[in-house]
């Protein structure tokens, strides 16, 4: 059995009650991979199998380390797998202080390996902004604080991979907004791969680099987030709220009009507000319904972002009033795709065909949570 380092390779199948699961995917062992799907599609089960908390037959190989291989009779028990697991509810130990919760795993790692491994307490405490909580009892913490401590506790156990099972779904909107920037910092500042289970597309758009799409116990697709969002065979594109996420870099800030210009491969986009400094990475999202198409560059439009693009394909059934158009930005040297939602009437009227060069007018480009993230980063 060969397994390449640098990848998380999972292949699991089995029956649980009346639910049959058969999931296989290979994703890079870096960045955030989101296991995404509706409730009950088996994504949590996959995560629990990765941690060894549940057992299905198959293989789990993390960055070259074999945790499970049913054919070879290998199944490491959970405490021998180097995972950090963040549950839906923080599940802090009520009989231990915050500090002792944080150190619970770290102490055991040190005992078994005889040396200090993983991040140190100070770094994690600062990263998550929980220094003021260290001597508190866990029962006095708010929901958001509890979940931050739970993340810190998992990080301190020196994991090879951080598994997060809908860590925000038990929290209210405000607490979610308070926590997401911290998760984004994990993403930016740690080289640790994260597997993030979610059924909330907004979270996925903010955090994920790679997406594993699940439906009824099967993996229907896995790959880079942007690729899957513009894949016509997947439900993401046909959903009413279809969106495409682009990775951008701040190019310049126009102080007079308070506008920020960012470059994405193949295009340059301008968004209102001052965001970060030149060179900073920012994530942008463009909703398909905010993109309209024109044959020629409009000269008298209020829309700032009007980009030359090429039609890659046109998706939509004959009987639907609207179709999705997949566009490649720029001259296609390195394709960066977005989607546009237009009416069938316009499509036929302007006679768009795949391969046509058009202008994509983007009514609004959203910076995905960049404001909160930069605020959090400035606190450090």
């Amino acid at each position: 059995m060969t397994s390449d380092a640098g990848a998380i390779s999972v292949s699991l199948s089995g029956v649980l009650g009346d639910f049959s699961l058969s999931a296989a995917f290979d994703v890079p062992a870096r960045g955030v991979t989101s296991l995404f799907g509706s409730s009950g599609c088996g994504k949590t089960t996959v995560l629990r199998c990765l941690a060894g908390l549940q057992r299905l037959s198959g293989r789990v190989i993390i960055d070259g380390e074999v945790w499970q291989d049913s054919e070879a009779g290998i199944f490491l028990p959970p405490h021998e797998r180097h995972t950090g697991y963040v549950f839906q509810e923080a599940s802090l130990f009520p009989h231990l202080s915050v500090k002792n919760n944080l150190l619970y795993g770290a102490r055991r790692v040190r005992q078994s390996s005889g040396r200090h491994e993983g991040p140190d307490l100070d770094g994690v405490v600062d990263l998550l902004g929980i220094r003021h909580l260290l001597d508190r009892a866990t029962t006095t913490l708010s929901g958001g604080e509890r979940q931050r401590v739970a993340v810190g506790r998992a990080l301190l156990s020196a994991p090879r991979v951080l598994l997060m099972d809908e860590p925000l779904s038990a929290l209210d909107r405000m607490t979610k907004d308070e926590l997401l920037p911290y998760f984004e910092r994990l993403h930016e500042q740690l080289s640790l791969p994260i597997l993030y289970v979610s059924h909330d597309l907004a979270e996925v758009e903010r955090l994920a680099d790679t997406l594993v799409l699940m439906q009824n116990g099967r993996v229907i697709a896995s790959g880079a987030l942007g690729e899957l969002q513009t894949d016509p065979s997947l439900p993401l594109l046909s959903a009413p709220e279809a969106t495409v996420v682009l990775e951008g870099r701040v190019e310049s800030i126009d102080d007079r009009y308070a506008l920020t210009t960012l470059t994405v491969p193949g295009a340059r986009l301008t968004v209102p507000g001052r965001h970060g400094a030149a060179g900073d990475k920012r994530r942008l999202s463009i909703a398909a319904s905010d993109v309209s198409l024109a044959r020629s560059a409009p000269t008298d439009s209020t829309i700032l972002n009007c980009l030359p693009a090429r039609i890659v394909s046109i998706e939509g059934r004959e009987d639907t009033p609207q179709v999705s158009v997949i566009l490649a930005l720029g001259d296609g040297a390195r394709d960066n795709r977005i989607a546009a939602r237009i009416t069938r009437k316009s499509l036929e009227h302007l006679n768009f065909r795949p391969g046509d060069h058009v202008f994509a007018q983007i009514k609004s480009v959203a910076l995905v949570a960049a404001r909160a993230a930069s605020d959090a980063a400035e606190q450090v």
Binding site: L53, H79, E80, F93, R108, T139, S157
Partner: protein, 227 residues
């Protein structure tokens, strides 16, 4: 005419019996309670019923079978010669065994309930934080089940102090060996020594009240610190 020595002997003997029984019950009851709380075995409830049987069984019935078991013609009679005795019945050790069996449900049930109340999650968390099952048991399950241990210990102790039927069947009435409080009171009443009976019985009333009060207070304190 009060004989202090005569009064003290059953009190000390009873306390000694109750302390030894409670310690043994915690040692034996913890793995049983853990198993009953965590096992998925189908015959688990049958096992639970066996442990709980002394709750409904007349003490004399339990005592009767113990007498057969411990007496000179039972297994007790076979092992007793090893230390030069004829029987295990009518000895302090026999009384300890009887008490352990008789008070078992009062200790196992609270411990089982406490372990069940913890649920799987804290143990799963511990496992993902590199704690072996044994490590997780001591560092997470036992501390979280503390109220159950406390309740079990208090109930087991109090119940042993109050037991009468089993003692009468397998202990007899040997001063300094098997003559415990409840039997002593019965004796005093039989021989119309009302003063002595009053002292012991009144003492028991006060003792019982204090035990229950202590338990309620402690439970409330633990409950508050957990909130």
């Amino acid at each position: 005419m009060l004989d202090a020595q005569q009064l003290w002997s059953p009190i000390c003997l009873t306390l000694e019996l109750a302390v030894i029984t409670t310690v043994l019950l915690l040692v034996v009851g913890t793995p049983i309670g853990w198993w009953l709380a965590r096992s998925r075995a189908r015959w688990k409830e049958a096992m639970a019923a066996v442990v709980a049987m002394p709750l409904v069984l007349p003490p004399t019935v339990l005592g009767f079978y113990l007498l057969l078991l411990l007496g000179p013609n039972g297994p007790g009679g076979w092992v007793a010669p090893l230390w030069g005795a004829r029987t295990v019945a009518f000895t302090f050790e026999g009384l300890v065994l009887g008490s352990v069996l008789y008070s078992m449900p009062f200790v196992v049930q609270p411990i089982r309930n406490a372990f069940e109340a913890i649920g799987d999650r804290p143990l799963e968390v511990a496992a993902t934080l590199r704690a072996s099952p044994m490590d997780a048991f001591w560092s997470v399950a036992v501390p979280l089940a503390r109220p159950g241990f406390l309740t079990g210990a208090v109930l087991g102790f109090a119940h042993t102090v109050g037991e009468f039927g089993v003692v009468l069947m397998i202990g007899g009435n040997i001063p300094n060996e098997t003559k415990v409080l409840s039997v002593a009171i019965y004796d005093y009443v039989e021989t119309q020594q009302w003063t002595e009976a009053h002292i012991l019985a009144g003492g028991m009333v006060v003792f019982s009240f204090l035990v229950i009060l202590a338990m309620f207070t402690l439970e409330k304190r633990i409950g508050r610190s957990r909130r």
